[in-house]
C-alpha cells in the first residue's frame, strides 16, 4: 500500500491563532480515511494544507512524496462541501469542462449519471448533485480523492449509493479522505482521525478509537421521564430500540435516577463510535 498523502507534524498559524497544531495524517492507496471533528477543529485547514492550497507554518505536507504542485494536483480529485459544480451548466457540460481542464481524453459519462446528462446541475436534487460532483472529480482517474462532507443533507438510500461509488474507487487503487459528521458513515471508513482544537486527538481503526470506553445502558419503564431526567443533568443521552445509553458510571446514573424517583436497571456496556467521539472531543474542553 503506497502512501499517497501525508503530513508530518504540520502546523498552520493565522496571526496568533493556531488552526492546525503538529498534526500527523496519512492516506494510503486502497483505504478510506475518515476525518472527524467539530466545526472549527481544523479539518478544512488540514485538507487545504494537504492539497497545497495553504503553506505550512511548520512541519511538512507531502503529496505523492513531494511538495504539492501543479503536477501532483492533477492526480487529486477534490469535492468541496459546495460541490464545485456550475449550477448554470448541464451535467455533460460540467463533465467536459473538468475533462478538458485536466487534459484527460473524454471518458464516457458513468452510467449512474448518464440519464441526467442534459439537465442543469442547479435543477437536480441534492443527492444526484453529489453523485455528479463525485463522478466529475473521479473523471480524470485521480489516485487520491478528498471529499468534504460528501453526504451532508442526503437521504439514507442516496447515501448508501454514494458510498458504493466511493468503495468502488478504492477497489481501483485510489485512496480516499473523507470528512463527515455522520457516525454511520465514519463506521464505513478503514481508519479514523479525530481532530480537536487543531490537534489530532485520536487515530486508528474504528475499534481503536472506541478503545475500552464504556457507557451505561439504562432500561426503564418510563423511558421518557428517564430521558428527560438524564438530559437535564447535562448528560448526552442516546436512544436505542428500548434502552437509553449515557456516559458515566452505573453508580452516578443510579443516583440521578433515584433522585427523580425512577426505577431502572443499569449495566455497563461498550461504547459505540458516536459516544467515543463525544468523549474524545469533550475531554478537557470546558463547555
Amino acid at each position: 500500500m503506497a502512501v499517497l498523502a501525508e503530513t508530518r507534524r504540520v502546523t498552520k498559524r493565522f496571526g496568533t491563532f493556531t488552526a492546525v497544531d503538529a498534526a500527523d495524517l496519512a492516506v494510503a492507496s486502497g483505504e478510506v480515511v475518515g476525518l472527524l471533528g467539530s466545526n472549527g477543529a481544523g479539518k478544512t485547514t488540514l485538507i487545504r494544507l494537504l492539497l497545497g492550497l495553504l503553506r505550512p507554518s511548520g512541519g511538512d505536507a507531502l503529496l505523492f512524496g513531494v511538495l504539492p504542485s501543479m503536477s501532483t494536483r492533477r492526480r487529486v480529485g477534490y469535492v468541496p462541501q459546495t460541490l464545485g459544480l456550475y449550477d448554470d451548466m448541464t451535467v455533460l457540460e460540467n463533465w467536459s469542462f473538468t475533462a478538458a481542464a485536466f487534459g484527460s481524453a473524454r471518458p464516457v459519462l458513468p452510467e449512474s449519471i448518464r440519464d441526467s446528462k442534459d439537465e442543469l446541475v442547479g435543477s437536480l436534487p441534492l443527492g444526484l448533485q453529489r453523485r455528479v460532483a463525485f463522478a466529475v472529480a473521479f473523471s480524470h482517474e485521480p489516485e487520491l480523492l478528498v471529499l468534504d462532507e460528501p453526504t451532508s443533507g442526503v437521504g439514507p438510500l442516496s447515501r448508501a449509493r454514494l458510498w458504493q461509488d466511493i468503495r468502488e474507487s478504492t477497489e481501483h487503487g485510489a485512496g480516499v479522505l473523507v470528512t463527515t459528521h455522520n457516525m454511520e458513515e465514519a463506521e464505513q471508513c478503514d481508519r479514523l482521525v479525530v481532530m480537536v482544537d487543531g490537534r489530532v486527538a485520536a487515530d486508528g481503526a474504528v475499534a481503536d478509537v472506541i478503545g475500552s470506553r464504556t457507557v451505561v445502558q439504562v432500561t426503564c419503564d418510563d423511558r421518557r421521564k428517564a430521558f428527560a431526567a438524564l438530559e437535564e443533568e447535562g448528560l448526552i443521552v442516546q436512544v436505542q430500540s428500548d434502552a437509553l445509553r449515557v456516559p458515566g458510571s452505573p453508580g452516578q446514573v443510579e443516583e440521578i435516577l433515584a433522585r427523580h424517583n425512577l426505577a431502572a436497571t443499569v449495566a455497563t456496556v461498550p461504547a459505540n463510535l458516536e459516544e467515543a467521539f463525544v468523549s474524545v472531543v469533550t475531554k478537557g474542553t470546558h463547555r
Binding site: 471533528g37 443533507g153 442526503v154 439514507p156 458504493q164 428527560a228 436505542q240 430500540s241 472531543v281
Partner: protein
C-alpha cells in the same frame, strides 16, 4: 389545541411536491419528519407555517405571533451580534424590557453563548449559529416550533445540545415539528413521519414503525454486494426479502429503526 396538516397537497406547476400528507403537531410533543433530499420535507414545513399555499387539503396553525420557525438556511443575521439578533426577534414578537432581558439571559445560558453576546453572527461556528437561531425562535415561547433540518451538517456534540434545547421546549408545552436526514434522531420523537417523494409512507411512534416492517431482514457478511435488495451497513450488508423467506447466506436479524426506514422506502417502491 393541536395543529398540523390534513391530506395536504402542494403542486408547483406540474410537479407535485406534497401528496395528501397528514401531520399532527400536539402540544408538549416532538414530531419528526424523516426523508431524503427531494422528499418534500421543506415543502411540508413551509405549508405548515403558511409560506406556501395548499393545492388541496387543509392546515391548522396558530397566529404568527405564536409560531417559531427556523428555515434550513439558518435564518439569522450574520452582520448583527448575538445580542442584536435576539433583540430583533424580541422586537418582532413583542418581547421587550424586563421580560426580554430575563428570557434572553436564560436562553443564552442554555446554549452556551452567555459570554459571546457581542460576537457577530457570522463569526459563530455552524452549530452555534443553529443554536442561536433556535433560541431566537423560542424567545416568545411559541405554541408551535417548526425546525427545518436543524442538525444537518452539525457535529454530534452540538447536535445533542440542540436536541436538548428542543426537548426542553416540548417539555414546557410547545408543539415541535422538526425534519432531519439523520434517521437516528427520530428516536427522540413521539411521532415519526417518513416522507418519500412527497408522500407519507409511514407514520407513528418509532416502535410502531419498526413493528410494522413487512418481510424479513437479514445480515450478509461478504465482501461483495449480495444479490437482491441489499444495502451496505458498516462492514456488512443488509438484505431484505419481501416474503418471509431469506435467501441462503443471510442470517436473520431484528430490524433497527434505521432499517425500518430503508425497508419502508423499498416496500413503497414495490407496492408492498
Amino acid at each position: 389545541m393541536t395543529w398540523g396538516l390534513e391530506l395536504a397537497s402542494v403542486r408547483f406547476g406540474t410537479r407535485t411536491a406534497l401528496d395528501r400528507v397528514t401531520l399532527v403537531a400536539a402540544p408538549s410533543t416532538v414530531s419528526v419528519v424523516v426523508g431524503g433530499d427531494e422528499a418534500g420535507k421543506s415543502t411540508l414545513l413551509r405549508a405548515l407555517v403558511g409560506l406556501v399555499g395548499l393545492s388541496g387539503g387543509s392546515s391548522r396553525r396558530p397566529p404568527k405571533s405564536e409560531i417559531g420557525y427556523v428555515p434550513a438556511t439558518v435564518g439569522l443575521y450574520v452582520d448583527l451580534t448575538v445580542e442584536e439578533n435576539l433583540a430583533f426577534s424580541g422586537g418582532a414578537y413583542g418581547v421587550t424590557g424586563q421580560e426580554f432581558a430575563h428570557r434572553s439571559a436564560e436562553l443564552l445560558e442554555r446554549i452556551g453563548l452567555a459570554d459571546a453576546r457581542d460576537r457577530l453572527g457570522g463569526q459563530l461556528s455552524g452549530g452555534m449559529q443553529r443554536k442561536l437561531a433556535v433560541a431566537m425562535a423560542l424567545l416568545h415561547r411559541p405554541g408551535l416550533l417548526v425546525l427545518d433540518e436543524p442538525t444537518t451538517g452539525v457535529d454530534p456534540v452540538s447536535r445533542s445540545e440542540l436536541w436538548r434545547l428542543i426537548s426542553a421546549a416540548a417539555a414546557a408545552g410547545t408543539a415541535v415539528v422538526a425534519t432531519t436526514t439523520y434517521v437516528s434522531e427520530a428516536h427522540r420523537a413521539s411521532t415519526v413521519t417518513l416522507l418519500d417523494q412527497g408522500r407519507s409512507i409511514a407514520t407513528g411512534a418509532p416502535a410502531e414503525i419498526v413493528d410494522a416492517v413487512p418481510g424479513k431482514l437479514g445480515v450478509v457478511r461478504s465482501a461483495v454486494q449480495p444479490r437482491g435488495l441489499s444495502w451496505r451497513w458498516g462492514t456488512t450488508w443488509r438484505l431484505w426479502s419481501p416474503s418471509s423467506v431469506l435467501p441462503e447466506g443471510a442470517e436473520p436479524v431484528q430490524p433497527e429503526f434505521e432499517d425500518a426506514v430503508v425497508i419502508a422506502s423499498l416496500a413503497y417502491e414495490r407496492g408492498v
